[in-house]
Symmetry: C2
Subunit: 477 residues, 2 copies
């Protein structure tokens, strides 16, 4: 009975949405809160976020970025300073209007993103070319009061992220950073999450509110939907002009700075879960698993004490491992629980194993079972963890590649979308054609890869003249 | 001129409040934001918070606490569930009343602390004694919309902290954790911040809203004011009863859990700054300094290139060091800047030093200067950093001990407060006498040390009968 309660009762293929909801609750990643669209990150989920923080924080610090913290509240007058930016965010801002018993004289936005409040400071701090580049980042919570359907991790009203905000003397330096940060995001997805990405530039219609250029890493999920994983924007001089961020150059002439902003959020955890997990529950890539190995002793008969002793010994020799010595649960119940929770490797040891001086090691991703002599447990575990990490990536990459279909006309594009795949097509890039595509197929543009096949002589797949770039398209979260 | 702009223009003794304001701005720790009472933690301040996070996070994780994240917003109906708690916090809650264009049907509190939203989950998650203890922590921002005078770090409307929330089967286990966590806080102050503390239990009047017992670490600042550094509360069964948090014990009987909550905030950074800094600027204890050593080459004459080469070599061999090779600034200007910023050690190297195969090492805390042969720089730096850390603590401890005066009557107590010191007195502990003390002297109770001198036969210093405990008292932030 306990088994039924714990297990996932629908399949990934049969009902993806219910499957995901069950996974995140039964693996104890998420719980719902009394505030609609705001979710609780339980330790199993938060520990993943801590790994991402450590990994990405080290990358940006090595690259000279510093961490800081800016206030949660942004006065309405400040939020509205950059026209495109506020138009993009205003519909989903949560407003504080009362403090204690007093109505506030100006209402305060709960930050949906911090360009405005940070640039208010940059205008004070930046005076000379010697103050540049200025590259700050913060790890924080943000709120976007979405009225669309919320989904834990993917679209929630409050989420955690990092936001980098930087200022440069030249556009060239700014653009160089845009790409560098995007490469860091790719590393997070590929090296930690074992999730392949499409790296490229967003369309005019899909770019960030207030940016000149938005680049992104996108991925494609097993339910036929693409999803934006992280973004790196070149803001040009839009905020610099709105906030008056100028510096004296080497010739003592006043110039506007060139700026970027970039972010990755807890949404990325949801992407990873959807990509790898299966009908038995969560599957965690070893590099983001806080616990990589669980040791389950099988305590039957008169060898029980000796088995437990050996199990303890084995667990102690393995980093990031856990000994499940709870009484009152059967081994089978424990196996099932750790499968639901996605622990990469399970080690079983019972009286017969003890006799044979071996353990059974079971891979969570494939279910493969292997007898391993005591002497080789440490090295076998280390090598299996590496193998799982790389196999998960390879499998996901194969799936993504097979999901991209090249098309050159709308009819074919519509058919691909119906089959729950993505398409890659030569495109003119106009917001009007993107609008039309969305109406007719439900798909939108993802991004244009930086390394492009030639478009010379190609017509836009929407039939609106000459193609300017190859773009990825798909249904999207 | 640059020197004047950078330097602190008032003394710590002469105008403590202006001195502190100048320190935090000129050392680039804090800047003001457009929202009154909300401050920007610049990299120099945030890096201190990161050290505290690493240190304390490791302590609690080793002890079995797990990190999680709960929503920022708490519905009003939830916040009001525990009567004493809401009475304590309601006057200073910031309320979100609008999301996008829509008025919300129930207004949402921006968390002033998370007992209520976390215990709403605990009521769902805790079923059996096997689910206990449940020990979660989160690192987050909280908002208390204070209408009193705000001071950066010490009293701000938004601040960063960690909040631990735990549930146990028995009061004994809960109380054990209260003390353990308080010891961890003492470690943060003593070992990282080099700040001595008074550890003890708060009075009835001063305890946390909703707690049975509040314990704290308190310290005493050079301006004659005491300040609460961190608190560890035993909440008894107050929230358990308000939220219905019960478990089935081993006999299948339903019991209420016993709970704690505990927190340390960015206020602690302010305490450390006030304690150690001097008329020249910030003084950082080495263990919380991101940069511990700055190397300043003195580039005069034809030896410039050789000096720079050696300076680089020295800097590279020293962990957490920085080479100030900026052009266009004099060495004197640089010395001054790093003094204002509190870097523990400065290494100067000029042509004459090169000749003598030595550098000059200057301690920030004492100004002491020492010629050190090239070969011993690494070991000398390591040992000086240890010495500074311990000297700062010793100095602060001496100051604190000299500031505590034992008294047995109100008249003497009032005189001590006038002299800007604390007093230690036998007390009855009643809220009425505490009220009266505050009216007459401006002082309030800090805490009662766990190791008490005897009170047998002692009268309460307020003249209201028998003394129950010795308590520390002082003017307080």
């Amino acid at each position: 009975m306990a088994k039924d309660l714990k297990g996932i009762t629908v399949t990934k293929e049969g009902d993806f949405s219910d499957w995901f909801t069950q996974i995140i609750q039964k693996a104890e990643l998420i719980d719902y809160s009394p505030v609609s669209g705001c979710y609780i990150l339980r330790p199993a989920a938060y520990s993943i976020w801590e790994k991402v923080q450590q990994f990405f924080d080290a990358l940006i610090k090595q690259d000279g970025v510093q961490n800081a913290y800016f206030p949660l509240f942004i006065p309405e007058s400040l939020l509205t300073k950059e026209k495109e930016h506020v138009e993009g965010f205003a519909p989903e801002v949560a407003w504080v209007e009362t403090g204690g018993q007093s109505k506030l004289t100006e209402r305060l936005a709960v930050r949906p993103t911090s360009e405005t409040i940070i640039n208010d400071s940059y205008a004070k701090w930046i005076r000379s070319h010697r103050d540049l580049p200025l590259r700050l980042n913060q790890w924080c919570n943000v709120v976007r009061w979405e009225f669309k359907h919320c989904t834990p991790f993917l679209r929630s009203r409050e989420f955690l992220w990092q936001e980098g905000h930087t200022a440069f003397a030249t556009q060239g330096e700014a653009m160089q950073e845009v790409h560098k940060i995007l490469d860091f995001y790719e590393k997070v997805f590929v090296e930690l999450y074992a999730v392949p990405v499409m790296k490229g530039r967003k369309s005019e219609k899909e770019k960030f509110a207030g940016a000149d250029i938005t680049t992104s890493v996108e991925t494609f999920l097993p339910n036929g939907k693409a999803i934006q994983g992280a973004t790196s924007h070149q803001l040009g001089q839009n905020f610099a002009k709105a906030f008056g961020i100028t510096f004296k150059d080497e010739n003592q002439e006043s110039q506007y700075v060139w700026q970027n902003s970039w972010g990755i959020s807890t949404r990325s955890i949801g992407v990873m879960i959807m990509m790898h997990s299966d009908d038995k529950g969560l599957v965690l890539p070893p590099r983001i698993a806080a616990t990589q190995v669980v040791v389950v002793p099988i305590l039957i008969g008169d060898k029980a004490e000796a088995v437990m002793k050996k199990a303890k010994e084995i667990q102690k020799s393995l980093p990031n491992s856990y000994l499940d010595d709870r009484e009152g649960y059967t081994p089978g119940w424990k196996f099932n629980e750790w499968e639901v929770k996605g622990i990469p490797l399970r080690i079983e040891i019972g009286p017969k194993d003890l006799e044979k001086k071996q353990v059974m090691i079971v891979r969570r991703d494939t279910g493969e079972k292997k007898a391993v002599p005591f002497a080789s447990v440490d090295s076998e575990v280390a090598s299996l963890l590496e193998t799982i990490q790389s196999d998960l990536y390879t499998k996901a990459e194969k799936f993504m590649k097979e999901s991209i279909i090249e098309v050159t006309n709308l009819e074919k594009a519509a058919a691909v979308i119906k089959e729950e795949k993505m398409f890659f097509a030569p495109w003119c890039g106009s917001p009007e054609s993107e609008e039309k595509l969305k109406e007719q197929t439900g798909a939108k543009s993802l991004n244009a890869p930086f390394e492009q096949p030639s478009v010379s002589g190609k017509r836009c797949f929407m039939g609106c003249g000459e193609a300017k770039q190859w773009f990825y398209f798909g249904k999207s979260y």
